[in-house]
Symmetry: C2
Subunit: 270 residues, 2 copies
């Protein structure tokens, strides 16, 4: 069948996308043979698909003949409403939180059973790293994750509650009953915390922001050293930011386009 590869059930498109997926958070540059190994695709297929991706700008070739994710792919992805569009609306609130607290500030959305970090402003406080935008955090152990989980559908919550709950530290909630109570508390208080539950010595505090249907919900968190900051103050600050972002997303104001509309004068003689 035209447009399908001979391997049944796996389209050419999905193979090309599998190649893009070979680039992980910790491996941002790969050789052709590393890509073949990571994807399990035949070398000839990898060779051809890489060429297509390079031609388009989805991948770029480095001076050493290796490959990395291309600028063009990033440019298209910047049009994603649920990540980059959200981030654009959230930035003023995140910056204000950072100015006041100098802590790490995170913005996350629910994706594929985890919290995907859409933005992270690095704090000046001496706290353990939490990855960066594009990274993921577990739902049951992070403050942003708990907020997103607490407000997701009952079906989805039950799936997470019945799955394995990995213990990252002795403080991680690993039983379904405790997590169920915790999620009810998050819904009641309007704010979630994670004290040493994901990384020892690190406390985070997160609140919800909701947008229009195409954007869904997001969580904003403040993250700092455990015990170094007034937890009540952190809670009030994230709740205010979450509500502010919810208002901003509901606002009737026209969203700023990605590229400015420039006045184009007729080219003058040169």
């Amino acid at each position: 069948m035209a447009g399908r590869n001979t391997s049944p059930g796996r389209s050419v498109t999905s193979k090309a996308l599998t190649i893009l997926e070979a680039f992980t958070g910790e491996r941002v540059e790969l050789s052709m043979s590393e890509i073949a190994r990571a994807t399990g695709l035949p070398s000839s297929t990898v060779h051809r698909l890489i060429q297509d991706l390079v031609d388009w700008g989805g991948l770029e070739r480095t001076s050493e003949g290796r490959y990395c994710v291309g600028v063009r792919l990033w440019e298209i992805a910047a049009r994603s409403t649920r990540t980059y569009g959200l981030r654009e609306a959230a930035m003023p609130f995140l910056q204000s939180l950072w100015e006041v607290t100098r802590a790490h500030i995170l913005l996350a959305v629910l994706d594929g059973g985890e919290a995907l970090l859409v933005e992270k402003i690095t704090g000046t406080t001496d706290v353990p790293p939490v990855g960066r935008a594009g990274g993921r955090l577990p739902l049951h152990a992070s403050a942003v994750g708990k907020v997103l989980l607490a407000h997701s559908s009952p079906d989805f919550q039950e799936r997470v509650l019945s799955g394995p709950l990995i213990g990252y530290t002795p403080a991680t909630i690993v039983t379904a009953e405790t997590l169920r109570l915790e999620l009810a508390r998050v819904r009641r208080d309007g704010v979630a915390t994670s004290e040493d539950e994901l990384t020892p010595g690190s406390t985070s505090c997160a609140a919800l922001a909701t947008g229009p249907a195409e954007m869904g919900m997001a969580a904003i968190s403040i993250l700092g050293t455990t015990g170094a900051r007034d937890l009540r103050e952190m809670k009030i600050l994230v709740q205010t930011a979450g509500r502010g972002l919810t208002h901003a997303l509901a606002g009737p104001g026209p969203r700023q386009p990605i590229s400015p509309r420039l006045p184009r004068a007729v080219p003058r003689t040169r």
Copy 2:
């Protein structure tokens, strides 16, 4: 040939990527028929490729049955060294500039004959909009563009100099001779300005930052209302930020991975 469509010279991969490209800075949500119209591909092909892209997360279906760029694509694109990797290193410098000036702060790289905005921190000053991250600015009329053009290869410079130079305002440089002199001045001064040349009433001032080979060069700019700010001060500030970023990119420090390395304890009984 397996993996190729019947149309000669156009691979399935390139068609799938063409679909992604239909989403522009001003049209972030499209229906299936709008995608077919924008790409010129047959409806059946569009239907099948959209399905592949949705399955993978490259596109998402909205509640109204329209499509937008997916979170998964954004996540992969966040691994691009030349945009998101650069942005991560640059953020502390951009935030400092924003704190001091409260102006718009831009970070841009050269891509396909234009300056691609990798980051924009929105200022509190009353200046005209310049788009957002993911947007593009013309090389000959913006401060970031002039910096990138002045430091690009002589061949590339000649191509731009010989092409049409669109006049966006009466102040835009539209002759090759004037632009050539301007670029020499940018290289000598280490800083570029654009005073009312792209948008009337808006002045920007940009400096260069250089990274390792796989990252290349970038430009940082401060953008504010014309006449409202001391231009010498703006120049010193962006130059300092540009040099700071260059040092940061050259540093031997291990780059933080996108996702944190979490200690994974053995799941406890639940």
